[in-house]
Symmetry: C2
Subunit: 321 residues, 2 copies
């Protein structure tokens, strides 16, 4: 066997540690394996450097010689002021085999990293865990492909799709387990966005209230045609997310009008649906006009990617397309 | 081992064959077991007679002597013009042991059936599968306990809780598998109820469009202060379901106002929630005013009893309380 896909699964898992903190760099994961033992592990560090490969090689030291490196993305071929090219580092360390999930779409690398390593006599295996890697580094890839962040829309509703009572009361629909999970999601995004109504009504802090993750507070974006508040950035229209530098993962948290405007613009890639086992009846609906023409057009747009129990609530994650 | 609970599970399963067709009699199931083999099976027949025990004994014939009878409900002690008491039939057949799930709350039996069999020297085991039996014969028990049918509310919604587009378009939100399942549910109810709006808009047939079950068409009830249409019965208020003779299972199918009026009256025992993986946005909400005071009052009222995939849709069944 030239490679073991379980080691790529490790590398993909490590890649998630950097998610939401590496933009504009990809959140890469890397595992170096010698004689079927992991001798080095790395993931892109906050701010984008060191790269995953550099970190894993630093851990592996001499054990990297003759070993196999599993990397979720093609090692970079370009030297930057912030560090050497990972392709060079891997070649110098004497890696015998490289297993990668995806080619790097960055034109400075795109195939050049692999070519350089192949030229150095290193055996190359590609497309291992490619589908999972597209999920794991979705923010970076969406930014490269569509020129905008990967957008997750969060909705917390009753069984009948309400997000508040008629008087606006919305605390709490979901339970503490759902809310803790939502905070963990925040920590995996560079920025969180709410609309003017939610800002005015809730003055949300949008911080990460989880022990050990308090420093993960994402940037706060307000969707408004008016002024931004201190500590907040603003955009006037969902399409302006393209201009949010350093944001590859955007979490849209509310309210209904903001959620609808992102859906109307076709700018939601992932839907986080927290559902409490309650009925509310009259009240505020989760969504307003999302620009749906006929009912037939609503079908086939979302597929269930994950489903789990969170206390009494149910979390469903849908992916677009 | 004096008894095997798996045979009670068989009897409970058989009891479901009569559900929705035996009122005012309970839908009982019975299995007669000799030397660990099933020698007789019975369930209450449409209209309420023959009873499950009579049917099972007729199949078992002589093999019933010395056998064990598993019955989901205490055998009746009262002779009626329509047939003998099952307690007498079981004693005469020479049953050695009787295993029952629940006592019959009917005052003509309530303990008398068991007493008569005990007096005849038959060993009695009670409370086997009692919780499951309460579910299986919920219609009969609700009628006995609360003087009204067991009410199931069906909702078919999008992920955001809509049952139609703003122009009323509602065909189709759910897929063919969900709709077939809903027809199967119809077959298990003595009557189906819709409100005036749904009647006027859809002229629903409310029949059972499933091969082999076409004869199961339940009675059709209209919730209206006006006149009933030909072929329809009417009630003016949800509380009038108490007066629907021969209806122990009522399926409330729509629309939003009717559903809300039953919830407001506290008259929903079971919620059938068919959810399609679509978003609709603006449109008709599944529920209107259900009389909820504060959000805290919404919690703890519903528990998830069952959940399954139906094609692309998800069915969730909630039970009240």
């Amino acid at each position: 066997m030239t490679h073991d896909p379980r080691f790529m699964a490790c590398a993909l898992s490590l890649s998630q540690r950097g998610r939401g903190r590496t933009a504009p760099n990809p959140n890469v994961g890397c595992v170096i394996v010698a004689a079927n033992h992991v001798v080095g592990r790395g993931w892109t560090q906050p701010g984008g450097r060191p790269h995953a490969e550099a970190m894993a090689l630093a851990e592996a030291r001499g054990a990297a010689r003759g070993a196999t490196a599993y990397v979720t993305l093609e090692p970079c071929a370009h030297v930057s002021p912030r560090g050497p090219a990972c392709a060079d580092l891997l070649a110098e360390a004497g890696i015998a085999r490289l297993v990668v999930a995806l080619r790097d779409p960055d034109p400075r690398t795109d195939g050049l990293g692999l070519a350089r390593l192949r030229d150095a006599g290193i055996e190359i295996v590609t497309d291992v865990g490619a589908a999972e890697a597209r999920e794991a580094m979705g923010g970076f890839l969406t930014r490269r492909r569509l020129g905008r962040p990967f957008v997750t829309l969060k909705l917390a509703t009753s069984l009948d799709g309400r997000i508040a009572r008629p008087d606006g009361e919305s605390r709490w629909i979901t339970g503490p387990e759902s809310r803790a999970h939502a905070h963990l999601e925040r920590a995996r995004h560079e920025a969180i966005l709410v609309g003017r109504g939610t800002f005015a009504a809730d003055q949300p802090r949008l911080d990460v209230r989880l022990a050990g993750l308090e420093d993960r507070a994402p940037r706060r974006i307000l969707l408004t045609r008016g002024e931004a508040a201190p500590g907040w950035e603003r955009i006037a229209d969902p399409t302006e997310i393209a201009g949010l530098d350093g944001v590859d993962h955007l979490l849209v948290e509310g309210g209904a009008e903001t959620a609808s405007s992102f859906l109307r613009a076709g700018l939601v890639d992932r839907l986080l649906l927290y559902r409490a086992p309650i009925l509310i009846g009259s009240g505020k609906a989760a969504l307003g006009d999302i620009g749906l023409g006929r009912l037939a057009d609503a079908h086939g747009r979302w597929r269930l990617a994950e489903s789990r129990q969170l206390g009494s609530d149910r979390l469903e994650v849908y992916r677009a397309g």
